[in-house]
């Protein structure tokens, strides 16, 4: 089950997970999960609720350490690092329940995302040193560009907590992109979005990929997953149930069995 899968692409894997296990009390959230993500691809992670998808995300971003197993980013070990250090290494994420800085404007949210890209400290800021002012100006322009990229530039000065939910999702993605990640983890970005918004989101994810960002996507919306992902992992009870291209996954009998009865998703798989 944990046999390393063959690589369709020439490039070396950007992220490699090797036998990751994680338990909470008696619940085995992840068991010997291994996979690889090649640079510039989109890997989808699907599975029923409670299958361990978000746990996997949290382990990758070091929100909690794995019980066993190893994680490599570009052959560099990344487990047991501080969450904020991973950002500098090039991993950024969004959250399942949007976690914006609600009391700040949309623009400011994105500018927090640039934290690792800028370096102005307390005293440089207070003294308004020329380079700090220049850096601030450039950061602001780049942040505006990112807002335009996701399509909400006109709301730059709005308090982010007041934005409609769909735009909050987009803002969160813009904020994550501001950290200039090599690997972007999207945790159910389409949840709560309507069909139009979801299509626009798919389009956005494609555009992000074209900029060379590798994407790890947890998503319940099968339409979206199947269309944009290069490869898909199916998790069930913390184990990898299947691994392959969207076509392979759709015809996998084990997946079919696992999803039987979960009316929410099963029709989508076979449509």
């Amino acid at each position: 089950m944990s046999a390393p899968c063959l690589n369709r692409f020439e490039k070396p894997p950007l992220l490699r997970a090797d036998s990751i296990s994680k338990a909470f009390g008696g619940v085995q959230a992840l068991l010997n999960v291994s996979f690889e993500v090649s640079e510039g691809t989109i890997l989808g992670i699907i599975g029923p609720n409670g299958a361990g998808k978000t746990t996997l995300f949290n382990v990758i971003t070091s929100a909690y350490p794995p019980d066993s197993g190893q994680l490599f980013l570009d052959r560099k070990k990344i487990q047991n690092r501080k969450v904020h250090e991973l950002v500098r290494l090039g991993i950024a994420r969004t959250f399942q329940n949007v976690e914006l800085f609600e009391n700040m404007t949309a623009l400011e949210n994105v500018m927090v995302g640039q934290y690792t890209q800028t370096r102005c400290g307390i005293f440089a800021a207070a003294a308004r040193l020329p380079w700090a002012v220049a850096e601030e100006k450039q950061a602001r322009e780049e942040a505006m560009a990112l807002l335009s990229f996701v399509g909400i530039a006109q709301y730059a000065e709005n308090r982010s907590g007041n934005l409609p939910f769909g735009w909050q999702r987009l803002l969160e993605i813009a904020r994550a992109l501001a950290a200039k990640p090599r690997l972007l983890l999207l945790d159910e970005p389409a949840a709560g979005l309507n069909a139009v918004e979801t299509r626009r989101l798919g389009n956005l994810i494609e555009r992000i990929r074209h900029q060379g960002v590798t994407i790890l996507l947890v998503e319940h919306d099968m339409n979206l997953t199947m269309t944009i992902c290069d490869r898909i992992i199916v998790l069930n009870y913390g184990k990898i149930l299947a691994h392959g291209t969207p076509e392979e996954i759709q015809s996998n009998p084990a997946v079919m069995a696992a999803y039987l009865g979960t009316s929410e998703v099963s029709p989508l798989i076979y449509d």
């Binding site: 950002v87 959250f95 800085f101 009391n103 500018m111 690792t116 307390i122 207070a126 904020r175």
Partner: protein, 318 residues
Amino acid sequence: MKPECFKNRLYYGIFLPVIAVSGFVIDSPYYLQVLTFIGINTLLTIGLNMLMGYAGQISLGHAAFYGIGAYTTTILTVHFDFSPWAALPCTLVVTGMVAFLVGLPMLKLTGYYLGMGTLGFGMIVYVLFREWSHVTGGSSGMVGIPSLSLGPVSFSDSRNYFYLVWMIVLVCIVFCQRLIQSRVGRALRSISDSENAAKALGVDTKDLKLKIFILSALFAAMAGFLYAHLVTFISPGSFDFMVSIRMVTMVVIGGMASIWGALLGASVLTLLPECLHAFADFEMVVYGLILMLIMIFMPRGLTRGLMDIYERSVSKQI
């Protein structure tokens, strides 16, 4: 951004002339002294507001830093004959070091537990002030702190001291205003909204919280320095638990996450007891009542509350 900027200019526009003019117009050293105390309390409140309002970390022991500032400069000037100006950097360094050493383990705590931890720290420092009597003078306090002077300008004159304190307050206000609009400030504010998200964006929240903790301790130390050289006497009673609580109250009454709120909160709570003398034995009852009423009717603090009332009355007229 635009209306914020405008409001800010407006506040400076009110603040600067009021300070400049009141220094000229007010002749009575008493009023100048009360205004000076407002300035000192504003310093305390601004620092604490950076920590509470912006970084979202509570401290119920900030009087300790205020006291460490006051005692360090006192000990240096009285026991070691330092000039106050030479004692100032030492005071800031000592307080900064203490804040660093205390903050490092303390900021691991969250919410009320952090409140409890800082409260405990404040109590320990208070006991040290009281019991380490051959250095700190014990409960009776220390006398003979020199007044400040700079060349020909003597700050034992109330007016000069008034200007000195408010100059420093102004510098601190500008400092904080710029800080919260900067990269660090944004990261700071992001912590109080969602610490998880801030971390996930690469903000070293632990480090940043510690920095702000130290910064707010430095503000308190500065206030302590100014207090010691104004009153020229200090005793542990000025830095006890109730003083910490009063500082927190000033922050919340003025309005969290608002530099101008800190100024307003400090002003109101410093003036209030002076105005309530007439109530004699009823003073406490009235004071408590006013505190409650302000919070009940303006839960977001005086600045926001007054602004809301103003905006409502304007919209009603239209």
